[in-house]
Symmetry: C2
Subunit: 380 residues, 2 copies
């Protein structure tokens, strides 16, 4: 198989410069010869997840981006606002590959049995640097897709599915019995909704438009609250009374929403209770896992003293959960690849296509229903 693999191929790179810009380009890099336990995957599909955009754009103002380079090797340059430049100080001058996950065909393998067994198979990988024509990884990092599954089906096998499963598992580990999710109409949100329906976990979906509320209701969601509605506070409190949810996963981060949810939880908990000067003793937790609103989180602290707000990421969660639980989760994802854990894409692009300003203008907005799939193999 090695003869099929070129010695060099393209890889998407993000470089923060000393001039406080980010520069996106396709670099010609060596394709490694796989060592004993390794395989080379021809990347055929890799999603652009919200969690890729931080590394990709480095917080740059992409509305100011300019295009350069050639059609086959485009270069996009955009300025970093001062706060982004400070955050990105430690990566100045480092040309970084991007792409948390993807899938493709194993086209070369080292001598190990595990590697050889994967030759010709379609696998999913969460190895980073997946916006590449070829990616050399440990065979053990590969999730073999079922017979007949396309790379596009398995491209998003890790980030969203393990995040959804991780939210449910965190709920159980920390003693909660129901969930609240914001930006709930996202690909991840729709997945969490299907998962919670399957597991009979009460889920309060918070969305930001009537259309998104409709989308989730059509998908079987019982509790959907539209934060743009005049009746939002009351709707939310009713949903919280009914579900007794005390755990929130929040993709928005900035603004008063986390605080409003905590206050509504406290109101739902306190119904019919007696006065306590420090509020209820029921712990209410918000985990912020995204930053659709980059502004400050504003907490009014009008919800007693038994509360917490913190950051949450799937990777540290998986480390805490341990290898056995993670293996269970991976099996479950493969079984539900085209059902519970399916992803939908607005558009498919090549690596060069991902560096077109009009594409960036769409997928960079992180808007619901605007998800891109990169298909690097299509352009070689």
């Amino acid at each position: 198989m090695r003869d099929q693999v070129p010695r060099r191929a393209l890889q998407l790179r993000s470089l923060v410069t000393a001039a406080q810009t980010v520069q996106l380009s396709l670099e010609d890099v060596e394709v490694p010869v796989p060592e004993r336990g390794q395989v080379v995957v021809r990347v055929e599909a890799a999603p652009i997840n919200p969690s890729d955009l931080g590394l990709l754009f480095a917080g740059a103002d992409m509305t100011q981006a300019t295009a350069g380079g050639t059609a086959a090797r485009p270069v996009v340059t955009a300025p970093l606002p001062p706060a982004a430049a400070r955050s990105a100080a430690t990566r100045v001058g480092q040309s970084l590959p991007v792409g948390n996950e993807g899938a493709g065909t194993v086209v070369a393998a080292g001598a190990s049995g595990a590697g050889q067994a994967l030759l010709g198979k379609v696998v999913a990988v969460a190895g980073g640097a997946m916006y590449s024509h070829y990616r050399c990884v440990d065979a053990s990092a590969c999730l073999e897709l079922p017979d007949g599954a396309r790379a596009a089906d398995g491209a998003a096998s890790f980030v969203n599915p393990l995040t959804a499963l991780g939210m449910v598992e965190t709920m159980r580990m920390e003693g909660h019995t129901a969930l609240v999710h914001t930006a709930a109409a996202s690909n991840l949100g729709q997945m969490l909704n299907r998962l919670c329906i399957e597991e009979q976990i009460p889920l309060v979906n918070i969305v930001r438009s009537p259309a998104h509320a409709q989308l989730l209701r059509a998908a079987g969601a019982t509790w959907v609250c539209d934060s743009t509605s005049d009746t939002f506070s009351g709707d939310l409190t009713e949903a919280l009374k009914a579900t007794r949810a005390t755990l929130v996963f929040d993709a928005i981060g900035g603004g008063p929403l986390a605080s409003r949810i905590l206050a509504a939880m406290e109101a739902a908990i306190s119904v019919g209770g007696t006065f306590s000067r420090y509020g209820s003793s029921v712990h209410k937790q918000v985990y912020i896992y995204g930053g659709l609103d980059r502004g400050p989180t504003e907490l009014t602290r009008s919800f007693g003293m038994a509360w917490g707000v913190g950051g949450w990421l799937v990777t540290p969660f998986l480390q805490k959960a341990g290898p056995q639980k993670v293996a269970d989760m991976r099996r479950r994802v493969v079984a539900g690849l085209t059902t519970t854990f399916v992803s939908h894409y607005t558009d498919e692009v090549s690596l060069a296509g991902a560096l077109q300003l009009d594409a960036i203008a769409v997928y960079g907005r992180q808007a619901t229903g605007k998800k891109y799939l990169i298909k690097p193999a299509d352009e070689r």
Copy 2:
């Protein structure tokens, strides 16, 4: 002894009315005859702690307070802003006693040996309703003071000492090795400073004036950062680099301070490290235990994803720590009553004196060095 105890005596009360006011008064209440395991304490000293003011004032605007009643039975009335009225909705119409802790002489006891053994002793009690002439409590709730100790010495034996010890214990239980404390020149802050010096725990004291910085340095503090200084951010980062502190106890609550400390911690942790798109993996925690600034907490989230902010109260902490640890802590407090755990008061007032507008204007501000001690026994 029972003959010495009147059948009725005065007790300070706080009442939220349906007209959205708080009304403070002295009510004539029955002094219970102690049951078998109970004692009656003649309250001789009770501090006005910041943690008493929430129940006392119910969030009212005390600058708008008006005085009524008589010299012996003053009545103070103040309006509740709308947010405070909402928070206090469940206590409308309930006349609530106030005063978390205090000390005095046991003047009557039930038949139990434990109660009888306390007759004539000076004890400290954290029973609530301590702004009273007499308070009937379980003998087991009494902390006997050492021979020769005055009630004033033991009046604040619980809230601040157990809070300071609880902060240190929380640090150990959650795997941190150093502390940051805001409003660090408070009575509690000075106590925590003495305790950390004794235990050789690195403590970063954050204060809000040069005078308070001086006060703490004079008390032996190594790390003092004045948030009103131009060099605050740099000073704080240096102190955090030196101490490796990753846990904050914050009495202020509102505004950007918690966020600034988290950002400085992340900067101190990340020195010399390589770029990580999600920041360091070191967990940084802020516990908000007070609300000197009632405005919203503003979190910029510029400190990676390994962080948490939450409420912290000493009572749930003690429940988590368990009776054995609490007994150890109480012994330790008694041993250090006039040294490590000493409190200082600006002024002493009677129950009626505590309801004078000029006194409220001073102790209601929660300013450092403006702490009042109520001495109910002085006015009978």
